[in-house]
């Protein structure tokens, strides 16, 4: 057991650093924080695609990088150091992996390259108003009509549906047997007639969430991934991939760095907040948990590199990862003190007297969702107790 970087690893790290420094321009960063967000993200993902680095977790045969767990770790660490956001997960971490795992050849040939090239923007049609933690209670139904399904119902909490070209959607195709048995996983074009997207303003005062209504929406039967009425298996596999990507330890490490930088400049009665032992203790408490979680993530990555798919252990990553994200976001709010409540995001920092309050607020407020989405942390604990500990 060791984590020493080999000469190849060090050379790889140099490559990654150079690429990020050259390609992730200040102009791109500015665009990502503006109304041009979608185009900026797509531009960045295309650069990653051109470099061959768009899908580190995919198998090589479908366009993955073939990196070792160490290389993946190096890549994520460097990405976070450089302040680069993760790729948008709906295509690359969700629908892509289930298509190469469950899709037929035609689906793989058509969709996978488009996901890799960021040609389609995907969104996730899972939750419904009455089906949140109890996802299998979903009611959106798809009725067969010749070579099509006709979908009626509504999905909710659909992130970036306003940008999306495609939605992967769980629909009820049968009411026979257990509720998990009549579910089908469908791919549906957002421009289809009968789809309506209603914005939901979230607690961070931004618009990323939506409700998506389906009124007699036609989807060809060939867009079923896996078997009809066997969508629950596909749905669960996707959730396991999603959970692994939610932990984002690298982002929490970055937030800790931001906290330290800012706390060094915050002066209370002539003394820097960072020099206050009681505040140091607060940072240390979080940092120590993160040190452990970083290795939990590495252990999961190592197991996946050995050819496995993420198992129920990924629930641990999701729970601890989101708890620590929230802890770091909350501590950053404390550093911002009075300014944590500033609502406008476009004020002149010089005039306001502060430069990160509004950004800290947005991350903290939206961060409250992380313990709810991707299967709430309560559901993750049920998964661990049932499938890891064997408790009924």
């Amino acid at each position: 057991m060791d984590i020493a970087f080999s000469a190849e690893d060090l050379a790889f790290r140099e490559d990654v650093r150079t690429f990020f420094a050259e390609q992730f321009s200040p102009e791109l960063q500015t665009r990502m924080r503006s109304n041009d967000f979608k185009a900026a993200i797509v531009d960045w993902q295309k650069k990653l695609y051109d470099r061959g680095w768009i899908a580190p977790n995919w198998p090589v045969e479908f366009g993955g990088t073939g990196w070792t767990a160490t290389q993946k770790y190096i890549y994520e660490t460097e990405r976070s150091e450089a302040g680069i956001p993760p790729t948008i997960p709906f295509g690359l971490s969700m629908v892509g992996p289930v298509i190469y795992q469950f899709g037929n050849q035609e689906q793989k040939d058509y969709f996978l390259p488009r996901v890799l090239k960021s040609e389609d923007w995907w969104c996730q049609g899972y939750s419904e108003p009455g089906a949140g933690s109890d996802l299998a209670a979903l009611k959106t139904k798809a009725e067969r009509d010749g070579d099509d399904f006709i979908i009626n119902g509504a999905k909710i909490w659909t992130t970036y549906a306003q940008y999306a070209d495609w939605i992967f959607v769980l629909v009820r195709t049968s009411n026979e047997g257990k509720k998990q048995e009549g579910i089908t996983f469908l791919l549906c074009e957002m421009k289809s007639e009968g789809i309506k997207v209603n914005p939901i303003i979230s607690i961070d005062n931004e618009h990323s969430l939506n409700e998506v209504e389906f009124n007699n929406v036609r989807v060809p039967v060939k867009n079923v991934v896996g078997e009809i009425n066997a969508g629950w298996t596909v749905a669960k596999a996707l959730l396991a991939h999603e959970r692994t990507s939610i932990a984002d330890v690298a982002q929490s490490k970055r937030t800790i760095r931001q906290i330290k930088e800012a706390a060094a400049k915050e002066i209370n009665g002539g003394k820097a907040l960072l020099d206050d032992p009681s505040f140091q203790g607060r940072i240390a408490d979080i940092e120590i948990e993160l040190m452990a979680l970083e290795f939990t993530e590495l252990r999961t990555l190592a197991a996946m590199s050995a050819g496995g798919f993420p198992g129920p252990e990924s629930s641990l990553l999701k729970i601890k990862g989101t708890e620590l994200q929230q802890a770091t976001q909350a501590l950053r709010m404390e550093v911002a003190a009075h300014y944590q409540g500033v609502l406008p995001t476009d004020l002149d920092p010089e005039q306001l007297g502060h430069d990160f309050g509004s950004e800290a607020r947005r991350s903290f407020m939206y961060g409250r969702a992380s313990t709810i989405y991707g299967g709430s942390n309560e559901v993750q604990k049920n998964i661990i107790s049932k499938f890891v500990l064997g408790l009924e």
Binding site: S127, G130, A131, G132, S133, D134, A137, I156, W157, I200, I201, S202, I203, N205, L209, E266, I267, N268, G269, G270, L273, D276, S278, F279, R282, A330, M333, E334, A337, H338, Y339, Q340, G341, V342, L343, P344, L347, Q351, L352, G353, H354, R361, M365, Y366, R368, A369, T371, I372, Y373, S376, N377, E378, K381
Partner: protein
Amino acid sequence: MNFDFTEEQQMIRDSIARFVQDDYDWETRKAIVASDKGMSDSAWQQFAELGWLSIPFDEAVGGFGGSIVDTAVIMEEIGKGLIVEPYLATVLLYGNLIAKAGDEAQRGALIPSIIDGSTLGTFAYVERQSRFEITDCKTSAQKAGERYSISGEKVVVLNATNAHKAVVLARTSGEQFDREGLSLFVVDLEAEEVERFDYAMMDGQRRANLTFTNTPGELLGEEGKAMETVDAVIREATIAIAAEALGCMGVLNTKTLEYTKQREQFDVSISSFQALKHRMVDTMMAFEQTKSLLYRAMCEFQEDLVKADVTVHALKVLLDRNAKLVYGEAIQLHGGMGITDELDIGHYAKRLMMINTTFGDVTYHRNHYANKSYAA
């Protein structure tokens, strides 16, 4: 020993609760927050007519002569209704500073217009470098004949957008962190020599940075001796916002309990899950513990200010922890609905967050508690 509220206090409580129910429902509040001023003049006039603006002031200036408990009763109801009108800034800061530091003429001239609702006020004391240390004051005041002229900047000033007048903390002698040499001044915020930079906060309230350039100010209290008054007023106001927070926490607990009874998943109400039941027991205990320490602070405040001083630090520490637990669970147990702007849950959370960072945050108060309790 008696923890009951008087009949008068219950009447005040009922009158505010009725106001919230009849005239300040969620849609009304939303419209007020979205309006240009971010507050309602007509609501403020109602507060004046109902006598709430007179509660803490002496009968000699037309007040009700109320105690800290009366103030807390009002603030708890303000918390329950998530009222954004500037009771804290106008009555408990601006008004109380004048009541405590002003001479008879100043009290007689300034307090009646607070009570009748015609003057909105605030206290300008935070500077961009000062964080929570009030004595870290660079704003200065020079005496020129009978008047003083004030220069410097105050930031995140509560209610500054709408306030007509402010009490401003400024240095008349001494160095940046000295307790001595700080003085209070009444300043007309509509004066030409005041520049304002307005912005909205996440709790629906408005704040502003104020820049003073040779702005005329009227000395309030003894020159150079402001801190004793400031400490007393802030201590009282801290108890008041803790009561407001308790109001917010109570609403969150009640609404969350209701929601979990209604919300069905896995064919049962989610309140039937033991894991969730225990969490709601925890939030209920957090509420009760906060209430107990608030009562302790109020009792001591009326008898022994030295003890009360340490207990107020303790209260702010416990409130921080318990408020975070209560709003965190309220959002989490409401699931997706909890993170929408539409539902009121997040708005109560945001007010609690702002209270936690007003008059010193958890780190600040824990340090002061420890220094005052354990230092040799």
